[in-house]
């Protein structure tokens, strides 16, 4: 899943380490919401990530979070579980790519 490596606009490249650090915190919050079955919290964190992911060039992350948001709206919890797995995999590769 090499999609974790994304294309960032040149004028934002120096911000990426901080962006990733903040986004890892969002991911931890999102996982906690998921584990506590907190749909409202889950949606809020997704919206927060969606507010900037594409601007920083993290298109795949934007896509997964859009789908998570839609699954919550539609109360498709089976789909949600699979999307959370995608997110886990995404952050696993993101960590390997950027935190080396």
């Amino acid at each position: 899943m090499n999609q974790a490596i994304e294309i960032t606009p040149k004028d934002l490249q120096d911000l990426i380490p901080t962006y990733i650090e903040n986004t890892f915190n969002d991911y931890a919050e999102l996982k906690a919401c998921y584990e506590h079955k907190n749909a409202k919290g889950l949606k809020e964190v997704c919206h927060r990530i969606l507010g900037t992911a594409s601007a920083y060039g993290f298109i795949k992350l934007d896509e997964i979070c859009t789908n998570v948001s839609r699954a919550i709206e539609a109360e498709k919890f089976g789909e949600l579980m699979s999307l959370i797995k995608d997110l886990d995999q995404y952050f696993y590769y993101l960590e390997r790519s950027y935190k080396r």
């Binding site: 934002l12 927060r48 507010g51 900037t52 594409s54 601007a55």
Partner: protein, 140 residues
Amino acid sequence: MNEAKFLNDLVTNEKRLFGEKRVVVLDDCKNSLMLIQRYLDQFDNIHLEVFQDEFEAIRSIIREKPELLVMDINMPKLDGIRVFTLLEEMSISNVPVIFISGDKSVESMVSHLKQNTSFIKKPLKKNTLIEQVNRVLKSA
């Protein structure tokens, strides 16, 4: 007042004397704040103050009215609309506001507030923000 704050205020006042415009940015999301700050860095005639906390931003606005307030709507302590109405209630009116939100449904709510407010939908686009800020500052 400590020395660092005194010097900071002094520099701020000096800059404003030379025509810099004060822009306050309020967003609870660090990544969003960082992005707005970077996009607005290209303006050399503005003095930018950024806040993650709603009440700190309000205190700063009360202390000195800015030429522009750029703020998120969905925030944990007070939403952007409430911040706006609080400022109005405190007679801090006529501050142009650019609201930012990922929720398109609030756009119509913003359009009913008053004339010098506008709305930008997240995800934030650099050109859209710059155009809106330029438009407001030119008329300030």
